[in-house]
Symmetry: C2
Subunit: 281 residues, 2 copies
């Protein structure tokens, strides 16, 4: 039997994580849930986020038979990973620890910059995960980047200017603390769409780490171990379109039209029909 992997986000930004998973696990089945009726989690309290995320995880496990969950949402990973693990009987992987591990593997100076939503930054989850890897991290909230991506301005001079302002402030803060960062972690699943602009804005020698990619790689390792190697080898991205085996079902709690319209940018292929569900919120 082909295993089902559940992927959860507050919206559809987590489709960048799903995209990275499909590239690596083309023979798995995927159920993706975007809790779009209650987004953005980024501006809500820990208590509220934990309740919403636990309900969403239970839907993927109980209703969709997910044997493994990837929390493709930095805010939920930061604030609700424990609550989700308590709520479901399957392994649960967040996006934050894999990002920190990837930074540790690539960093020479041990100093890391992190950009994320306000709630993720306020949780200091990346700073804690980096510290656990022996890294020093400076985090910065960049609340305009998600709306700029959703406006479709992913290659727009205004977006480049906003990125310059945010990164300039972050560099100044790092310098003030005597850090010499050589890594920039993208701590939000919307940010991979801005990667070309961000690559242009970072100083030479600073490497951009996409925690969506890092989490997908960690999921492969965990899945292949836990699920008995049923999921297959990584395929080259060029082969994605040809993996007719990959089954992806997408669910949302609201605004399926917007999900269908914008989601393909994140997934890198059409998301198809999105099914509306009601989690009672």
């Amino acid at each position: 039997m082909t295993p089902t992997i559940g992927v959860f986000d507050s919206g559809f930004g987590g489709l960048t994580v799903l995209r990275a998973l499909i590239e690596r696990l083309p023979r798995a089945h995927f159920a993706f849930l975007g809790d779009t009726a209650r987004l953005p989690y980024g501006s809500k309290s820990r208590r509220t986020i934990a309740r919403y995320a636990a309900e969403s995880a239970q839907f993927l496990v109980r209703e969709q038979g997910a044997e493994f969950l990837v929390i493709a949402c930095n805010t939920a990973s930061a604030l609700a990973l424990d609550a989700i693990q308590d709520a479901v009987p399957v392994p649960v992987l967040g996006v934050i620890e894999p990002g920190a591990i990837a930074a540790r593997q690539a960093s020479a100076t041990g100093d890391v910059l992190v950009i994320a939503t306000e709630a993720t930054v306020q949780s200091h989850a990346y700073a804690a995960a980096c510290r656990a890897q022996g890294l020093r991290a400076i985090e910065k909230a960049c609340p305009l980047l998600v709306p700029l991506v959703e406006e479709g301005w992913t290659d727009h001079p205004v977006t480049a200017e906003v990125i310059d302002i945010y990164l300039g402030e972050l560099r100044a803060e790092a310098a003030a603390q005597g850090l010499k960062p050589d890594m920039l972690v993208l701590g939000c699943t919307h940010y991979p769409l801005l990667r070309p602009l961000i690559e242009r804005a970072v100083r030479p020698g600073v490497k951009v780490i996409d925690s969506a990619e890092s989490a997908a790689q960690a999921a492969v390792e965990l899945c292949n171990g836990r699920l008995g190697g049923r999921l297959g080898e990584r395929v080259a991205p060029a082969a994605i379109g040809a993996t007719a085996e990959t089954e992806v079902r997408c669910f949302a709690t609201d605004s399926v039209e917007k999900f269908e319209r914008l989601g393909s940018r994140f997934l890198g292929r059409p998301v198809g029909k999105v099914e509306l569900i009601d989690l009672g919120g």
Copy 2:
């Protein structure tokens, strides 16, 4: 007995409407509810918005004794005014019709530009309200403006540039349809904080109409009629700080800290303690 006026918004942008109400009705009591656990309404469906707004209105009437409701949220006014009127036994005033009436009173050409959130624009509620006043309206969604206000960039070159881009696109659309607009209606309660930048960006001869101001003026007329003239005359804005009589209680469904921190910019004075309530969402 002093009447209580309930003011409702999905977030705290509606504090610009409350501010305009306090200026005009200094002897009233006010109960303001921001449904911050479930914002932004702007990206949600009509069905969901109607349910959230009705629950919020019932809280203000049943728990706070509001005798009159002002829906200080363009999205809820556009999509849920009927649902709210059905849900509570008191008069309910939205922000859209007053904005359209103010535009009609001031316009010479009969052509009007409207900027608002995506959900408000998709509802075409302003176009319909303007048509009912004999005006032709062109609406444009400006989804970056709310995040720019919440980032505090209300006097920032990036914000000025974004406004220029949006208004340029809107003017081009109006010209393509042969319209000669002389009014620009601010169809979102966050936009009054951008009024100085917007005033600088409009063409000479175009007047900016703030629907928060228009709604407050309409509320005064309705209240003084319906509530027997118990609310008093308009006071000059300079006297606001001195109206010790004005009682304002603020409630939110989440993130009271953010509400307290950002709310004063919208209200024009400290919002004080914000009480957390649970509407079960």
